[in-house]
């Protein structure tokens, strides 16, 4: 069974937001909505112990995806490659999946009145290209590939 996924090496991420912007350009995501968002995470009770890092968040392609389990119409589904995707034609806009998503990475499309999320740039990856965020990552910290077959790009990060 394949498990296509985006892997991010947080040690390399510089918080340049290239992935966020290129995602919005490629997929025409509305202002205020994010399929991929870079969070600024700061931890520490004092300045001496304070540590900050950048955390890009996007669909994690869960092995047991709650969004697929709760969807009443089957709009959230797994395709033949085991990817979690959304069939917008079937989506009735109940937004159960947005509540169920443990990572909060689903977004609401106001104009189409349906739920959207990272498709790992299916339109590009199915044609053999890399997702827009991976192509445009300035620090080369994003990898796309199949975790199960251990494709070279993913494996590099996987074994680090």
């Amino acid at each position: 069974m394949s498990h296509y996924c985006l892997v991010v090496d947080l040690n390399l991420c510089t918080g340049c937001m290239s992935c966020e912007i290129s995602c919005k350009q490629e997929n025409d995501v509305a202002l205020g909505q994010y399929w991929n968002k870079v969070l600024r995470i700061g931890q520490g009770d004092s300045t001496d112990t304070f540590k900050q890092y950048w955390m890009p968040t996007m669909c994690q392609q869960c092995a047991d995806a709650p969004c697929v389990n709760v969807c009443p119409t089957g709009a959230s589904y797994r395709n033949e490659d085991n990817m979690v995707l959304i069939n917008k034609e079937k989506c009735i806009g109940c937004r159960y999946c947005m509540m169920a998503c443990p990572y909060g990475v689903r977004s609401w499309n106001k104009t189409q009145k349906c739920v959207e999320k990272c498709t790992m740039c299916n339109q590009l990856t199915s044609a053999g290209e890399k997702p827009a965020c991976v192509k445009n990552c300035a620090s080369h910290c994003r990898f796309y590939g199949d975790l199960m077959t251990r494709t070279p790009t993913c494996r590099r990060s996987w074994h680090r």
Binding site: T14, G15, C16, M17, E20, I21, K24, Q25, D28, L31, G32, G42, G44, D45, S46, T47, F50, Q52
Partner: protein, 351 residues
């Protein structure tokens, strides 16, 4: 005498003096007076003039002198071949004459904390001044003109005993912008629509600042506004603000917007100056902050949806876009209209 020299092609442009002569050599084609009468002393047509401007340009392919026509055929620019790119570790290149690395472009070939080139530039204008041509040699046996090693000096506004302005402000950058560029990209501005000022939680308690609340920042020179980010990422008695020159205030006061959130109205430009280059203190001066109840200016865009007028137009025909303008096709009528780049900025009177 001097006035005539100003117009003398031989004087103002010595390298071009031969163009006053005919292709054969010695005889002058035109005198000073007749040349001016025709517009240029050395050329009778625009193409001829451009030819002369191309005088020093060599065709990289053939190594011969290029003419204006050659340039037109070649196009406006050309990429340098890869071997001519700027390389790293040039100083390690072995000089064939000595067999040693060529080093840096300094008199000693080494890294010089005390820059003699800078001193020479300051004293004589070499190499940018044409007057001295580098003929003046400085006496390097003299004592140093400036202190080459960094040293400590008390800041002019001392954070330790400043009662009126208790916080030291430092400036910085964010990776998504560079100076003023990209500030009009809606996807970037929704991330950071307004200026941010980082405040330590203890200072925030002390001055009543709330996270994401508006803050008035004052220094001895002026006052401006920002939104607070309360974080432990900045120590106590210090604040950080990015050099935000926006918001644009398109709907209220576009021409007055430059001081709404501009940290430059706070910075100081009086002594002490840098010994060598004369720069003044842009980072590290004293400010005070106070909370502001509401949005201090009308028409500040803070929500992502407000940046929608700046989104690129989607109904464009692929391949028709040019820099500055592009064709927009109307689906119902089938007519094409040219959209200028300025249309990205909405007309404040129509909003």
């Amino acid at each position: 005498m001097n006035a005539k020299k100003c117009f003398d092609a031989d004087f103002t442009n010595p390298g071009k003096s031969k163009i006053l002569r005919n292709p054969g050599g010695s005889e002058l084609v035109g005198s000073f007076e007749t040349g001016v009468a025709k517009g240029y002393p050395w050329a009778h047509t625009e193409e001829q003039l451009m030819d002369e401007f191309m005088d020093t340009q060599l065709d990289p392919d053939t190594g011969k002198r290029m003419t204006w026509d050659d340039l037109l055929k070649k196009g406006g620019f050309e990429y340098a071949p890869e071997k001519e790119w700027r390389q790293y570790y040039v100083y390690k290149t072995i000089d064939p004459a000595t067999g040693k690395p060529i080093g840096f472009g300094t008199p000693s070939g080494r890294v010089e904390p005390y820059s003699e080139i800078t001193v020479k530039l300051g004293r004589t204008g070499y190499p940018f001044s044409l007057c001295n041509e580098g003929l003046i040699e400085l006496d390097s046996s003299k004592s140093a003109e400036y202190e080459p090693v960094p040293y400590y000096e008390e800041p002019a506004e001392n954070p330790n005993d400043d009662k009126d302005y208790p916080l030291a402000l430092t400036e910085g950058r964010v990776p998504i912008y560079h100076h003023g560029t990209l500030r009009n990209v809606p996807w970037l501005r929704e991330i950071m629509p307004t200026a941010e000022i980082w405040v330590n939680p203890k200072d925030a308690d002390k001055y009543g600042i709330t996270h994401k609340g508006w803050v008035k920042v004052e220094s001895r020179r002026g006052e401006t506004y920002a939104r607070a980010i309360v974080t432990n990422g900045i120590p106590e008695r210090m604040v950080y603000q990015e050099r935000f020159w926006n918001p644009e205030l398109l709907q209220s006061d576009p021409y007055g917007s430059w001081n709404a959130m501009n940290v430059n109205v706070l910075t100081k430009n009086d002594p002490p100056y840098n010994d060598v280059y004369g720069t003044y203190t842009l980072r590290g001066f004293q400010v005070k902050i106070s909370p502001v109840d509401k949005n201090p200016y009308d028409g500040i865009w803070t929500e992502p949806e407000q940046f929608e007028p700046w989104l690129p137009l989607t109904d464009t025909k692929p391949g028709t876009a040019t820099s500055g303008s592009w064709q927009q096709l109307d689906d119902t009528t089938g007519t094409a209209t040219t959209v200028e780049d300025n249309d990205w900025c909405p007309d404040p009177t129509k909003m």
